[in-house]
Amino acid sequence: MSNENPTHDGAPPADEVAVAPEIRRILESPAFAELRTRRRRFAALLTVLMLAIYYGFIVAIAFAPGWLATPISGVITLGIPLGLGVIVAAIVLTGVYVRRANGEFDRLTATAIRSALS
């Protein structure tokens, strides 16, 4: 390590965050535990979904290009709606996350902070 000094240099976090009691109370509030569990599960689910959709598409291109070339209507192949579908899925999944996070999750967050400050 280039820097042997174990102290922190007083950057934003170290001196701006009021540590200890209220942090402890937020940590121990039921709303915070609920928030963490729900959000972690939801974010993990959506991440896995997005990765599966994208890498499913990439794997199909690498191993089954013939399947993607199957005509479905005139010259339009299966690959066209699937490809455009990946774009739409990316937009929809982010939208789904924002909706729940800015509603339910932010309400839980507010509850956790309120319970800690009262």
Partner: protein, 557 residues
């Protein structure tokens, strides 16, 4: 034949060669054209407007927070547009539509790769980043780790990413402007550099954001009009569009299915990783999250950005197919002298020719001016993030150990902007005749392998220590650069060797694995007292990351 058209048409060389497997290709030399008056007038109007905004922004930019993050007062919608502006470069507009024009479906595969990083940013990074950070992503990565070591590493990652991205943009700008406006290459590069310095030094993040927003609206508006005119031509029938394209394209029905873009599964996966996680490690993108007031606005920004970028890629797909039908069949746009019968001015002129085909000389001038504005906005964002790494990370935290005077820091940031601008001009001129096609790919690979792993792990893994982050981040940076140099894009295409030492263009699969492994091994073997303190501080960081409690909000004016 109109005069404006003739000028553009007679361009002899490709601005961007057919895209290789990665990123914006910026190969080949453009031939200087006679001055294009319509385009220049429209561009001057854009410059006048943005300088006006810079003047307005300069009066509102006093504090450090104003300069770096527009005081945190940008709304989610505005920031979404600005992010989209940062991401939709001239190279992606011209390059992707050209790829669709040349090989159809492959262009779609390519653009999808650039989009899928956004949901990942949303689910894994956006809200934690906003809650923990203030000005740079190093604020977040160094939150509970050793400030000086982590900031040095993050600043190196930022500056190297920015440098490669900037060179590619500057060279692209010079070539494009020579081709579209008839200006000398050096004049074009200096013009871009000087304007960008003015926006950033005087207007800071507020001016940079609004330049970005205006450019995004112009680009989305212009591309929407082109796609609309294409659809009108085919009677708003998607099926007719594809049928007509297949009927006239030299590859026929093959353009409707995957072609040669994806060579093998390893390359495909490696490229996918670089695009997906590189987006989540680009410093100028990460910095945008600090311009909004809280996590809720940060999430909205990602949603709007994803929507605009996704919509834009769908437009480029329609524009590419429209160009096959309207441009590829019209001898007016074809280069009669070449045996292959390609487009005049090179394959990347597809969207530019289409602009003329659907909107005449005036619209051609408009699209040319938008392309110029696009480059200008992208380089301004890049420069601001590089300057912030110098002033906030290196000067204020490494050199002054967190005790820098605010006005001094702003001054350093402005000097850094001027220095980076001059450096960009010089490098743009030095690299004029070089093949810089690999540079955007390299920027993404470094962002994915050096910046992203330490940022993500510092937020979600309690066990990460300074030692682990420094080892992992440095190894990621080193391996991304080394493997790119030894790979086909540099070893063969730039250095002229017969066969590459490393067989793949995209190193991310390997360099990211090395980075994560380095972070892990370096951390678990770290038995120092400092490591124990760092792990114990994770709890406090976790609460702030998850709730935003104690996070910096919008500054009041």
């Amino acid at each position: 034949m109109s005069r404006a058209m003739k000028r553009t048409m007679t361009a002899a060389a490709a601005l961007l060669a057919p895209l290789p497997s990665f990123a914006a290709a910026l190969e080949g030399q453009a031939v200087k054209q006679p001055l294009n008056a319509t385009a220049i007038l429209m561009f001057l109007a854009f410059v006048a407007l943005t300088l006006g905004i810079t003047y307005w922004a300069a009066r509102r930019t006093q504090s450090r927070a104003d300069f770096y993050t527009a005081g945190g007062g940008i709304t989610g919608f505005q920031n979404g547009l600005a992010i989209a502006g940062d991401y939709m470069s001239a190279a992606s507009f011209l390059g992707i539509s050209a790829l669709v024009f040349g090989s159809g479906f492959d262009g779609l595969i390519y653009s999808i790769g650039f989009l899928v990083g956004w949901p990942v940013i949303m689910f894994l990074i956006a809200e934690r980043l906003r809650n923990l950070g203030k000005f740079t992503f190093a604020d977040v990565a160094s939150y509970r780790l050793d400030q000086r070591s982590i900031r040095k590493l993050a600043a190196a990652g930022t500056l190297i990413t920015v440098a490669f991205y900037l060179i590619a943009q500057m060279v692209g700008a010079g070539q494009l402007i020579k081709l579209l406006f008839g200006l000398d290459y050096n004049v074009a590069v200096v013009l871009v550099g000087v304007l960008m310095i003015v926006y950033v030094t005087f207007g800071g993040m507020l001016a940079t954001t609004w330049v970005q927003i205006i450019k995004a609206m112009l680009l989305l508006g212009g591309a929407s009009f082109m796609a609309f005119m294409v659809m009108r031509h085919v009677g708003f029938s998607v099926e007719d569009l594809f049928e007509q394209a297949v009927a006239v394209h030299k590859d026929g029905v093959a353009i409707m299915a995957p072609g040669k873009l994806v060579k093998d599964p390893v390359s495909a996966i490696s490229l996918g990783l670089a695009l997906m996680f590189g987006t989540a490690g680009l410093p100028h993108i990460l910095m945008r999250f600090f311009t909004v007031k809280n996590a809720a606005e940060a999430r909205k920004s990602v949603f709007y950005a994803t929507g605009f970028i996704g919509y834009f890629y769908i437009l480029t797909f329609i524009i590419g197919f429209g160009a096959i039908v309207l441009v590829g069949t019209n001898t007016f746009y074809l280069d009669g002298t070449s045996p292959a019968g390609g487009l005049r001015g090179g394959s990347n002129m597809a969207a530019i020719h289409l602009a003329h085909a659907v909107g005449g000389d005036v619209f051609l001038g408009f699209i040319s001016a938008v392309a110029f504005a696009t480059i200008l906005a992208v380089v301004a964002g890049l420069t601001l993030s590089g300057a912030t790494a110098v002033s906030n990370d290196l000067y204020a935290h490494v050199f002054k150990r967190g005790k820098a005077d605010e006005q001094d820091e702003i001054r350093v940031s402005k000097y850094a902007t001027v220095a980076l601008g001059i450096l960009a001009i010089v490098l743009g001129i030095v690299f004029e005749k070089q093949n810089v096609a690999f540079m955007v790919g390299l920027a993404f690979a470094i962002a994915a392998s050096a910046n992203f792993p330490i940022l993500l792990l510092s937020m979600v893994w309690r066990g990460l220590t300074t030692r682990g982050a420094v080892i992992g981040g440095s190894l990621g940076l080193l391996s991304a650069v080394t493997l790119t140099v030894l790979g086909p894009a540099v070893w063969v295409k730039v250095l002229g060797h017969a066969t590459p030492i490393f067989p793949y263009d995209a190193p991310a699969l390997f360099s990211m694995s090395i980075a994560f492994a380095g972070c892990w091994i370096g951390s678990v073997t770290d038995r120092s007292a400092r490591a124990r303190i760092e792990k114990s501080r994770y709890i406090e960081q976790l609460v702030r990351a998850e709730t935003g409690y104690g996070a910096t909000g919008a500054s009041s004016h």
